[in-house]
């Protein structure tokens, strides 16, 4: 099985230092980039699938050229190769551009499945997966908690988390699957994996390589724009209660009553 995993480098939320530049774009220099957490679950699922069924995992990223560092982390976890789509003209890309570019990049790759994180910690939209599926004309299965391919029948079964449990979906392959944490904890790169990743291939592709015109993508043709930002109002100071349990409980209930919650 050949699996492509969409991986996005995102600002490390643990840094709590994310900010916008004066032009309202993400300040990528302000914080270290890490592999988006939900993409790590997708990658782990892909690695387990090729361990069980044989095959290769390709990591596909659209990002500035410095993103080779996060791709290298994915390679250290066990991915076979990386593909980085990078081009000056992609700066300021919106979801529409991102979807167009990723779909065009997939057209040049061989795969049975495309896995992606269900959303990213920076955008929190969850739109790229379904968008790429539409543009690449792939069946789309989202909120996956379990993925069971039947390579001989060219079918894949996915448990999709629903508000009341889960739906079992069946799709022909190739298909695009949006992955959740319920698929299982991502592995840490081993020392051997880190060493091996150094010599693995990262192919860089420009818009021209994908047959896309620079005028059709990027900030100049973005469908949305950030026009302002401000810090949210600060929360009021914390009230600290250190009384005995029954006194503390009464204080909490009085506090909730004050705020008309109970």
């Amino acid at each position: 099985m050949h699996i492509v995993v969409l991986v996005k480098p995102v600002p490390d939320t643990a840094s709590s230092g994310e900010r916008l530049r004066p032009d309202n774009r993400l300040d990528r220099a302000a914080v270290p980039a890490v592999v988006n957490a939900n993409d790590e679950y997708a990658l782990e699922a892909a690695l387990k699938l090729v361990e069980a069924h044989g095959g290769e995992v390709t990591v596909l990223t659209m990002a500035p050229s410095g993103a080779t560092d996060t791709i290298r982390k994915a390679l250290a976890m066990g991915a076979t190769r990386g593909v980085l789509v990078t081009d000056e003209a992609l700066a300021g890309s919106d979801i529409r551009s991102t979807v167009l570019v990723l779909a065009a990049a997939l057209a040049g790759l061989e795969f049975d499945l495309v896995l992606a994180g269900v959303d990213t910690s920076d955008g929190q939209g969850g739109f790229v997966g379904p968008g790429v599926a539409v543009k690449a004309e792939l069946p789309y299965l989202s909120y996956a908690a379990k993925i069971e391919p039947k390579p001989d029948d060219r079918l894949v079964t996915v448990r999709r988390i629903s508000p009341t449990g889960y739906d079992v979906l069946e799709s022909p392959m190739p298909a695009l699957i949006a992955c959740t944490q319920a698929l299982g904890e991502p592995r840490y790169p081993s020392l051997k994996g880190i060493m091996a990743a150094r010599s693995k291939e990262i192919v860089t592709k420009s818009l021209a390589d994908l047959g896309l015109e620079p005028e059709g993508v990027g900030g100049a043709v973005a469908t949305t724009e950030v026009v302002g930002s401000e810090a949210p109002p600060a929360r009021a100071a914390t009230r600290v209660v250190r009384e005995a349990p029954d006194v503390a409980a009464r204080e909490v209930v009085a506090f909730l009553a004050e705020r008309r919650i109970v």
């Binding site: 939320t13 709590s16 994310e18 900010r19 957490a37 939900n38 979801i95 529409r96 979807v99 959303d119 910690s121 955008g123 929190q124 939209g125 969850g126 739109f127 379904p130 968008g131 790429v132 539409v134 543009k135 792939l138 069946p139 789309y140 299965l141 989202s142 988390i161 508000p163 009341t164 889960y166 739906d167 079992v168 979906l169 069946e170 799709s171 298909a175 959740t180 944490q181 319920a182 469908t223 949305t224 724009e225 950030v226 026009v227 930002s229 810090a231 949210p232 929360r235 914390t238 600290v240 209660v241 250190r242 349990p245 503390a248 409980a249 909490v252 209930v253 506090f255 705020r259 109970v262």
Partner: protein
Amino acid sequence: MAGLWVLGEVTPEGTLARISGEVATFARGLAAEAGQEVAGVVVAADPSAAAAELATYLPRVLAVSDPAAAERPWSFVAAERIAGLLEPDTQEFMFVGAGPDGRDVAGSLAALLGWGVLANAIGATWKDGGPVVEMSVFGGRLKTTSRFTGPTGIVTVRPNVVTAEPSGSTGKVEVVEAPVDELRQPAVRVIDRVVEAGTAAPIEEAKIIVAGGRGMGGSEGFKLVEELAEVLGGAVGATRAAVDAGWIPYGQQIGQTGKIVKPQLYLALGISGAIQHKVGMQTADTIVAVNRDPDAPIADFADLVVIGDLFEVGPALLAELRARSG
């Protein structure tokens, strides 16, 4: 056609999803400010009940009946049918709830139409012929305002941003038969729908959430969280540690790789408030925490924190709340 559209989502019982009443209220307010028309659209095998309910919020609702909506994952069917109704060259904006299904519809509809999409609105005003949308980003540490550069777009709206309020008059429901043409998207079949105990209403829609973390110690300890949620009429949430330990299903997880919630009350038990959890809940109206550790990060951003043993404070709180509710 209308200038503003509202997606009506349908529950498994065929009724209107709660989030859709909120989104309708949100879009109706914006339409009034803008002097624009607003209409709803419901796509389902049998959209009648949900469409009638959506019509209590909006003056006009299109009810698209399509058997494929029951046989396939709903979101792609809905997106394709809605794309067929909208007129891409006119000024039109679509408002969708920011839950799992709404996000799938928004993402596929945006790609089908080439429209822009703004995620997780917490407010909106109308300016220069389009919505200016407020969003909470970076886990609630920054509020941005964004707009569309053209006359079309899709906005997903966070749950609990407004209270759903029917308009007071009943709108007109227009029944639309789905076109007979094949759906573009390759077929995905729903072969089973499994209902698991303990996963009730979507947690992101709950007004009150009682959440437990590592400090609950085990599934036995977690019963305290469930009891408090019950007496408060709220939902049960959890940190990733509690989910990883198997005390509660992943669907109840709040935080970076789980749900993002904005309830009126977030009662956090045995939760330290690490950043990965904080980004999922820090925009709650009121945060109350019980924690043994006065230096836990949650003590810095909760409105009220009780420093103490949660297995003493929790039961005392339960007794006090039960006495109050009689």
